[in-house]
Amino acid sequence: MKETRRFAQGLAVSCILLLSAGMAFGQNDPGVRGGLSNTGGGLQQQGIPIPHPPVISANPTTGKPINDNELASFLEGIARAGQLESTCDDCADVTDGSAVNNLGELDSMFPQFHTNSNGLGARHNADQCFACHAQPTLGGSGGFLVPNPGDKIPQQAENPQFRLIPHRYGRQNVVPSFEHRFGPIREVRFKHKPDGTPDGGVHQLWTVRGSINDSTIPNCSLTQPDFEAEYKNGNLAFRIPLQMTGLGLLESIQDREILSQHDATASLRAPLGITGHPNRSGNDGTITRFGWKAQNKSITIFAGEAYNVEMGITNEAFPTATEEDPDCQGSSKPEPNDVVRTDSTEIKNQKFDNPLHILPDWQQFQMLMRFTDGPAPDPNPSDSAKRGRTIFADIGCSLCHTPQMQTAPVMNSAVLQNRPVNSYTDLLVHHMGSKLADDISQGQAGPDEFRTTPLWGVGQRIFFLHDGRTSDLLQAIREHFSPASPNYPASEANGVVRKFNQLSPAEKQTILDFLRSL
């Protein structure tokens, strides 16, 4: 009898738990649109090259397509961004700038085990641009790559920071515990310096120590920072790679458009406690808009910074190396390394027979970003996704995730000018509360402030929020909620998240479906 009662109690508890779970999980993030196996590294794993970045589409307002010179710049940009960097100045496996053909690479424009460029810094986060921008296509956000390129049987695609990049060419790096095999690509900023004053800067993960493809640095003995200790002390702020797609369009939006869109929603935002403000350049006072905290003014600055910070490649915009240890830089490596090409010989395959070869890699990279199309939404969204679009606006998500802005009416490029940009961002920064705060200030973006992340392309991203803490959109929405704390004001998104929480499971599902259609 007792046993029967226990069984009945157990059954009842199980039913309650199941019902609770059903209510809690009545809505689900449908996951990466198209499936992980059909995007980014999932394709690579099947022996299919990752698709290249899409060319900007014809201007929907005027019908003008990208012109031939812009297209050539874009294509040269793909070649440069795909290059795999060697450490010294002249030890690439194939001639600098050449595609790697007939050497077993899956994509000659995105080599994985033959270097075709030079200049990798003594400290770096990666050794090629696309290594961290390959989801769902090259030029996208951070994704997975096959860790054993060139082997006959490819292993499952994974976080390239877990094995591929830290150990490529024999480099002897210790992989910190926050880089997980199937987790997000993370770079780190230190919140504070050892003396307690604010730091905020990127501390590059890897060094070139142990490189077997550079005979000029046999005595390099650089060590990595003690990431584990800093992690344990709560001194790390993580950032994941943003997508490069559509950045030319975002750059083409005038400040007046950003401000007028913001002004237009003032009466709707006020009751919800949403304010928001631009991050501005300390030099000219105009709105900065690139990066997790809208800290970068332009694609050009963004590109120059990325070359030096992510790959340690010095350039005209960032001419000083982050690590100047001569034992790890090589005796013949010029600094800055990637500069406008004025070589008098053809040794580096940089003859002045084509103006595109005069520009350095980092500048061609910014041309690539400028003319890469915005992420394409699902051309056939489901009925649920269509309904979700309406509810998304109704509950106030679009008060920050502004669905559409317009580029400047007259620009040098006909394909960029006077066209709608469906990026779902107001390009402003907002207080997000203690849950998301990373204690890093950049320009006028404070320690808990972040730029409204553009949602175009969110349908095919794997990880969300600045530190990639989740790959579940529902969780990402919930992370927007944060009450006031002693150190931070309440999240500006609280009012909208409350409205989201009041939706029925079916209505929440429509929003998730809508987001995955973007």
Partner: protein
Amino acid sequence: MPPSLERRSSPRPAVGHNVHTTWCLGWFLGVAITSLACFQQSRAQGTTEIHRTLVVPATEILIFDVEIASGDLQILYGRDGQVSISGYAKASAEAKVDDTFFPSVLTIDQQGNHLNVRQTPSPAHPQKAVSIFYRIQVPYRTEVTSKVGQGKQNIIGILGPVKAATLHGNITASYVSKNVHAQVDDGNLDLQEIGEHVEATTGSGNITCARVSQGVSAETIDGDIYLAVVGPSQASVKTGTGRLEVRAARGTFVGSTQAGDLHITAIPHDAWRLSSASGNIRVELPPTAKFELDAAVGSGKVVVDREDIAKPNAEVRHIHDQVNGGGKLIEAHSDAGTIVIR
């Protein structure tokens, strides 16, 4: 006083109203007739467009076969997973095109990852009466076989290989990762940024190839050839005064001309064999270059303008030297031209 001047000076109001009315009527009639004529003419000329977007498998290479009887053809990378075909036609004064034009001349046939586009001649639209332009955006991973009767071809930014042929018109291709085979009967070839090998032949026309890492085979019956930053290559101008100019040859090189000059400027990474019938041959090498020189002329002369090679006198027809200790063999031979070594 001349009559005309007299008429001009006549007081207008005397015949004022009637003259003015008649003039206005005439003016309006003239404008109306002209407008009508213009309208009819513009109808006769006309333009029409076609736009089609096809979904293609993103996981497979697109096999694209295109044949255009006449018109300019541009094939370029757009985005993976789709093909966008745009056609534009404009008729000249004596012809007209309308919305029925493209459906009557253009067939688009897709079977999975195979795409065929055919534009056939239209008896109703004489070739010279309608100018046509096709812009076709394809995935990066596309193999192209293209034929154009009369018109230009421009192929940009794809994996390849590309096999392009034109009877009359130029072919340009750039940023193709695999082999390019381009052939025209009458027209120029301009092939740049090619990942593998280029085979370029033209009956009458010039050939330009730059940054072709796996080399070029170029042949023109009558025209100039210009090569820059190329892997192991061979180039031949078969007749006439066509010139051959080479910069930054990165592998073996074999080049020949008839009456045209042959000029090569490069670091001698590998052996070269240069010949001409009556054209001059000029070889420019860095001052420190190491090479083995074998230069011979029939009736011309050999001129040396370098410190590291003894200058031959005017009667010398053949020199052989190990320059800076020797290196790759550079052979130059001209029947009746002059050879200059700098």
